[in-house]
């Protein structure tokens, strides 16, 4: 049985009672000595990134894990962009039809139309990329932060204390998620607080392990 209260010393008639601190899972110490990783433009899973800053970051808050959706989740919009980029080339095959029209477009109109078209294609790709870029999960020694950017006018930032997380689980379903090793990590919080979910992130098993180690106060060497 651990001693909660112990007689430390007696000075004359005065009895000094020393109280041991209650052992709670302390936040891990600042990870200055740990190997830091650089976050590149396309990083999806980074341990101890040293170049991430976020809103309301505390001075003693150290980022342990930086998560993004797997890069393979970008394939649909990348393919769409490539298809849209190549679409005007079909105009070469439609040239005889265009020449047979009763009216003609001057070259100025054609130039403006092509520039405008490619600006729209670029805008489509850019918005999709920035949405993916900013849709992240951050695990620090104090909190778990979920930044959801779903489209150009919607963003949602949710955070919870590490101590409030009671359970961590991950799921991978389907051929692609197993092949490319991505999936969902679900964090259950206490009581009525909303649960957290990181969707389609890289290495979900590793992420779940790191988070559960953090909850338990164990240093993780994964």
């Amino acid at each position: 049985m651990p001693d909660i209260f112990s007689l430390d010393s007696q000075k004359g008639d005065e009895v000094v009672i020393k109280k041991d601190p209650i052992k709670t899972p302390d936040p891990l110490p600042k990870s200055a000595h740990r190997p830091h990783e650089k976050v590149s433009l396309l990083s999806t899973f980074t341990r101890f990134p040293d170049d991430i800053r976020f809103q309301n970051q505390e001075t003693n808050e150290d980022v342990h894990l930086f998560l993004r959706r797997h890069i393979i989740t970008n394939v649909p919009w990348v393919l769409t962009t490539v298809a849209l980029f190549l679409l005007p080339l079909l105009g070469i095959f439609l040239m005889p039809f265009i020449e047979s029209l009763p009216f003609t477009f001057s070259s100025q109109y054609f130039l403006i139309f092509i520039l405008f078209y490619y600006l729209i294609v670029f805008g489509y790709a850019f918005v999709n990329f920035t949405t993916w870029f900013h849709h992240v999960g951050i695990v620090t020694n104090l909190r778990v932060i979920d930044i959801d950017v779903t489209h150009i006018s919607s963003k949602n930032v949710a955070a919870t204390n590490v101590a409030d997380i009671v359970d961590v689980e991950y799921s991978q379903s389907g051929f692609l998620s197993n092949f490319f090793d991505y999936g969902n990590v679900n964090l259950q919080t206490e009581g009525l607080k909303p649960n957290f979910e990181f969707n389609h992130i890289s290495k979900p098993a590793k992420a779940a392990d790191i988070i559960s180690d953090l909850i338990a106060g164990r240093p993780s060497d994964v």
């Binding site: 670029f122 850019f126 963003k155």
Partner: protein, 79 residues
């Protein structure tokens, strides 16, 4: 009385096309402004301070808006 049949000439068609093109690019400029503002606001939430991170995104964001404005001005001038 205004003769509407004038619009169905080649010049009328071109005028209609010009107005339509300017409206379209004008509206797209509003969309580009919304995107610009949105991405700028994301900089306050998350900063990836490597060179190929938030600085690159914000620079591209600026040039995207600039390109849209440039296209609108170009359309005004040459159409």
């Amino acid at each position: 009385m205004f003769d509407f049949t004038n619009f169905f000439t080649s010049d009328g068609f071109e005028l209609g096309l010009k107005i339509f093109a300017l409206f379209l690019i004008g509206f797209y400029m509003i969309f580009a402004l919304i995107v610009f503002n949105h991405i700028r606001s994301l900089r306050r939430i998350l900063v990836v301070s490597t060179a190929a991170g938030s600085p690159l995104i914000q620079t591209m964001n600026f040039f995207y808006l600039l390109a849209t404005i440039f296209l609108f001005v170009l359309a005004l001038v040459i159409l």
